[in-house]
Every structure is written in C-alpha cells, then in structure tokens.
C-alpha cells in the first residue's frame, strides 16, 4: 500500500490583469517548477487581486495560522522563498505577514470587494462558501416592490459616475408597462484611473451575475446584457466562463433556482469607442449601430434597448445589490455621510507610491486617501495635482485635500467625485498640456452627433496648442473659456459637457502653467 499523499500546501497567486502585467504568470510558473524540483506538494490557486498593486505579484501561502503574504515577488525570488521556508510562512525580506493585517487593507470597509484576492473567481463553490447567492435566495422570496424598496432604503446611487439614485431607476423600470424589459450592465470602464470594474469581473464575477439576476427579478426582465470593453480580454474570459458555470448550476437560465423565473445573460463586446460608456450610446452599440448618443427623453428606463424599458447600471452598482440584501439595506446605509451612503471603491492611480483599490465609507478626506493610503507620489516629489472622477473630472490642487469624499461636497467645490478614480501628478506636470489632452481626448472620442462637442473640442485643442507654442495667451484663453462653457451648457452628453471640468479647473487652479514664462524651463510631460 502506498503511504498517504501529503496534503499539498496551497499557494495563492493572482491572475488579475494588473498582476499578470507585472509577471504573476511567470511567478506562478516558477513556484510550480521549484516545488517540483524539491518534490514538495504545492497546489497553486489563481485568485483575483486584493488591489495592493505596488505589492503585486502578491503571493499568499495558506498556513495553520492563516494566510501569509509575500510581495512583490519576482521569479528570481522564488528559489530563495522556498529555501527560507515560505510554504510554512517563514520569515523572508518579502514577507508581509497576514494580508488582512496590512494597514492598507485593515483600514478599509471591504463590503463589495471582500472576495477579491481571496476566492478563485471560476469556482461557484468558493462563491457559495463566502456568502454568495444568499441574497438571490432572499430575493426569490420577496415581491418585486419590496426588492425595489430595499434598494431605495439602502441609499445606493449609481457607481458609474453620475450617482443617480438606483432605487428610482429600479422603480421606473418596474412600473414601465410592457412584457419585454432588459437589464444592461455597463462594463465599458474606459476612464483612466479606474479599474475596480475590471477587478470585480476578473476576481468576483458571480457577484455581478447575482446582482443582475436580482435586478431582473425586481424589474421584471428576463434578458440581461453585459457590455464589456474590448480592451479587457481577461475579464471577458473570466466573465463568460462564470456565466456558463452559473447556467450549469441553475443560477441562470429558464428556471432560476427552480423558481420558475427565467433570466438569461449574455456578454457583448465593445469596439474601442469611449463614448459607448455613455448609457444611450451603449444601447445603440448593443443594437449593432454606431455609438451615437441619444437625446433624452425618452429615458432608457422607459424606452431603452430595442425601445424597451431597460435598467442600465455600472458593474459596481449591480455587484453591490447582493451586499445590500445580505447585509440589510439599513446596515449598508449606515456607512457613509450625507446623501452619499455605503462605500465607494476609490481607485488610486498615476504617480502614487501605493496605487490600488481602497473601498471606504464615504466621508474620508481626499488628503487622507492620497497620503495615508497612497503614501504620496511614486517619484518622491510633491503632489501638485490630482484628477478625480476620470478624464472628464476636475484637476484639484493641494488646497482641496481637506475635501471629504462625498458626492455633494465635491459638486459644491466645482468638482466631481464620480466613480472614485483618482490620478495623481507630481510637480513636473504641465497643466496646460493636460488641458490640451482633455480637449484632444474629447475630439478623438466624440461621437459627432452634437456640434459643441464635435467642433468645440477640436477648436479648444487648437487654441491650447497655440498657447503651448508661445502664442498670445489672453486671447486664446478667452476663446478656451468660451468654448468650454458652450460645450458644458449645450452638449448632448457628459463627454462634451464635462470636458469643461479638466480644462477650466486646470486654468483656475494652475494659471501659471498657461503663461509663456512659466512654461519655459518646465520639464515636458503629459
């Protein structure tokens, strides 16, 4: 008789795209090879990322004392880790201890992102073992109006950027007449500085599937679509695999969990047009057309996809729904401040020492996020500007760092919290070039339907190019202000309408960068 095989040590290596981009696959391969060479039984599990990107590839080992993290691990560190005894959690210069005890994670309110980096995203049983599908079970026992009421009571607002109260949308779609309705997930996460949607799709896809299923039950839809950007091939593979698994287990299909209710879900892939992140352009694209923005009204909630009532939400909004049902609407509402309830997935990017995902209740100050979590710039130079809310968000200076992170305070300060994506710049940034970039981005991505956006963005870019070339500043800047105001007031959607935010905020808070004198001698960047 063979001796019983030793139980393999479980080693977790992320397969999130950002971890792969810094070598996670190579590290996993090196661990596998080194274990084989030493005849040590090791089982490698591929998880999502916890979102501590400066520590990626972040490798964790299951020990009797819980998981122990090591990072950032490079392939050449692997033999040394084995020699040090990392399989039993031994000390090593890369040892970080328990990942949950890392200050970056410990201070967070991980409700929505609790499973990231913890479970294997392609295992239904991992999802079930961490509370998954409990909310759907509850939802199946509730009448649609009560489901909608729970979302209303939670105070949840759209996490894609516009922050519209989710419950109102749900109620509108639920009450809309008609036998055919749709639930559409906007996974066209095109804004620089945002990656939380991608992390959920790659690290916890069943939470989105469950959220969409509950939303469909509430509004009376039987078909859902996820509109996913083509730049996310890893998310596509994980999500489509998860949908297949959910269907095989009866969580999707003609008879969801034996309830007699049907819900089908399909992933549709975008084709590189940023404007399709705007909900009406997204619907046009889903219908197989050019992504031209529609005039509103009619609201998509009443006449959306193929003219039918459609609930459109961002990934994070939908993935939050199971949290609300499982934890209770009131418990969720207890997080946050003012009219910003629950948690926000803050995403730190750009020139920051500790880039990553910070899920926190609304209300923390911007400075706390930038310094306590972010640790200042990666370059070690002073922070000069941060752009909050994506490419269409305002540039803020250190004088704004006391602002609490909530929707209304930011709006009152002439900025936009949006989806919580934050890009940090050090003092080498040239804000005139960043303002030009904002116009250029809008010009490239405009759908062309409305004139202020289509023409204004091009003229604005040209005017700032003349300023950068040393042209007459005052006349050009007057033109830029006028163009930005026209775009803000008269564009059909947020792309043209909000390009004014980065442009005008750069002008207001960093005027010195627009004068010829200040530009000379400034290092060229961005």
């Amino acid at each position: 008789m063979n001796p019983p095989r030793e139980t393999p040590t479980v080693v977790y290596v992320p397969r999130d795209a950002a971890a792969l981009a810094v070598g996670a696959d190579v590290v996993a391969g090196a661990i596998h090879a080194e274990a084989a060479r030493r005849a040590l039984p090791v089982q490698i599990k591929r998880t999502g990322s916890r979102g501590l990107f400066w520590l990626e590839p972040l490798v964790e080992v299951a020990t009797p004392q819980g998981r122990i993290a090591y990072g950032p691990v490079q392939p050449e560190d692997v033999p040394d880790l084995f020699t040090a005894g990392f399989l039993s959690g031994a000390s090593h210069p890369l040892r970080l201890g328990s990942p949950e005890a890392l200050p970056y994670l410990q201070g967070q309110d991980r409700l929505l992102h609790a499973r990231l980096g913890v479970i294997e995203p392609d295992r239904v049983d991992d999802y079930l073992a961490t509370g998954g599908y409990r909310a759907l079970e509850q939802a199946l026992a509730l009448e649609p109006p009560e489901l909608v009421a729970q979302v209303q009571r939670s105070g949840l607002r759209g996490r894609g950027g516009a922050a519209f109260p989710a419950g109102i949308k749900w109620d509108t779609v639920r009450r809309a007449p008609g036998p055919t309705k749709y639930v559409v997930c906007n996974a066209d996460e095109g804004d620089s500085g945002t990656f939380a949607d991608r992390m959920v799709l790659e690290g916890d896809p069943f939470s989105l599937i469950e959220g969409m299923t509950i939303a469909a039950l509430a509004v009376g839809a039987t078909q859902g679509y996820v509109y996913l950007r083509v730049e996310y091939p890893h998310a596509y593979r994980t999500l489509t695999a998860a949908i297949e698994l959910a269907r095989a287990r009866g969580y999707l299909g003609p008879d969801v969990c034996g309830s007699g209710r049907a819900f089908e879900l399909e992933v549709r892939v975008g084709a590189g047009a940023y404007v399709c992140g705007e909900e009406t352009a997204l619907l046009e694209s889903l219908e197989g057309k050019r992504g031209l923005v529609r005039a509103k009204p009619p609201l998509p909630a009443l006449a959306g996809l193929f003219g039918r009532p459609t609930l459109v939400h961002n990934v994070l909004t939908l993935a939050t729904v199971p949290v609300i049902l499982a934890e209770g609407a009131e418990a969720y509402r207890d997080y946050g401040c003012g009219n910003s309830r629950g948690t926000l997935s803050l995403q730190l990017a750009g020139n920051v020492r500790r880039p990553g995902l910070v899920e926190k209740a609304f209300g923390m100050s911007l400075g706390e996020l930038l310094y306590d979590y972010g640790g200042g710039t990666a370059s070690g130079r002073p922070i000069r500007a941060v752009q909050v809310g994506g490419p269409l968000g305002a540039y803020l200076s250190p004088s704004h760092f006391d602002l609490p992170l909530d929707y209304e305070t930011f709006a009152a300060a002439g900025a936009m919290l949006g989806h919580g994506g934050i890009v940090v710049f050090d003092d080498t940034v040239d804000m005139a070039r960043m303002a030009r970039h904002a116009f250029a981005f809008c010009a490239d991505e405009s759908c062309g339907k409305c004139t202020p956006c289509r023409i204004g963005s091009v003229r604005g870019r040209e005017a700032l190019e003349r300023v950068l070339a040393g042209g007459p500043v005052e006349a050009e800047l007057a033109l830029v202000r006028e163009l930005a105001a026209t775009m803000r007031d008269a564009s059909l959607c947020a792309l043209g309408g909000m390009t004014a935010y980065p442009v005008l905020s750069a002008l207001e808070h960093f005027p010195e960068d627009f004068t010829a004198r200040a530009r000379s001698g400034r290092p060229v960047q961005g």
């Binding site: 981009a21 500085g193 590189g272 057309k289 990017a349 960043m434 961005g526």
Partner: protein, 159 residues
C-alpha cells in the same frame, strides 16, 4: 440594376449563419470576422449587409465608427500603448515617442514590412501599474524605456 447576389465569400458563410437572427448582430459578427481573418475585408461588406438586412452604408458606418475594427490586415505584432492620464503621469508620452521612433511609424500606423501595428489606447485599466501596454494580447505594466525596447526586440524575433 446591380445584382445583389454576388456569392458569399467562403470563410464568411458560417459566420453569417451563426449570427443571422441574433438581436443587434452586427458588432458580434464584425468581431467574429476580425477574429477569423484579422480585419474586416471591405469586399465582405455587401454580404454582411444583405445577411443582416442592413444597407451597405450602415455596415460601413459601423466599421468606420469603432476604432477596433480594421479595414486592412494588421501587422504581425500588435503593440498597444496606453495614453490615459494615469500612464501620462508615469511617463507614457516618452514611451510613445520611443516606440514611434523605434518602429518608424506614428501611433495608429503599420510598419511597411507588415511586422508591427502601433496603436494608442486611452486606457487599458492597468492604472495600478502604469505605464502599461499590451503586446499581442499580453499585458505589461511598470514599463521603462529599457523594458519597452526589450519587448519590441523579443517581438521582432518572433515570426
């Protein structure tokens, strides 16, 4: 009058069959075509239009609207550099200039020898490890000028 039936190009027939009747079929079909042959051959547009009961102008308009769809074959290697704000904050402009110089084409261009297509993208969602790029579907973060050169050199050696 022009004859409508010119015969469906061989490789297109099964793709049309798979997508005919799907709601909003055009984008999935164009993806399938580009997946199969690397671009959307303009000569296929009439067959696509007819199968989906669209005008050729509508199909052409959709192909031209979306930057992802190509009307000519791509280079053997596809280099996609991120120029979103997060990557700009970490030196993406210099990397783009470097790639343009090494490959001898501007962003959006194909090298005349058919080896490389150089593309810019406004975000790859890899802002946690800016600056970032994608080479032949593989993602790369924390790029430096040295690493970019090394990546281009490895691609050059591959067929």
């Amino acid at each position: 009058m022009e004859t409508r039936d010119r015969g469906v190009p061989g490789p297109l027939a099964p793709l049309l069959e798979a997508h005919r009747g799907r709601p909003g079929a055009l984008l999935p079909l164009l993806h399938a075509v580009q997946e199969a042959v690397g671009y959307v051959p303009p000569a296929w547009v009439p067959s696509i239009a007819e199968a989906l009961d669209l005008s050729r102008a509508e199909v052409h308009g959709v192909i031209r609207f979306y930057p992802h769809f190509r009307q000519t074959p791509a280079g053997a290697h596809r280099v996609v550099l991120c120029r979103g704000e997060s990557c700009l904050a970490r030196g993406a402009e210099a990397l783009i200039a470097q790639a343009e110089q090494r490959l001898g084409v501007p962003l959006g261009g194909d090298t005349p020898d058919g080896r490389f297509s150089l593309e810019g993208v406004y975000c790859l969602g890899l802002c946690g490890c800016s600056p970032a790029a994608m080479l032949d579907g593989q993602v790369h973060g924390r790029l430096t000028p040295q690493r970019l050169d090394a990546l281009l050199a490895t691609a050059q050696e591959r067929p």
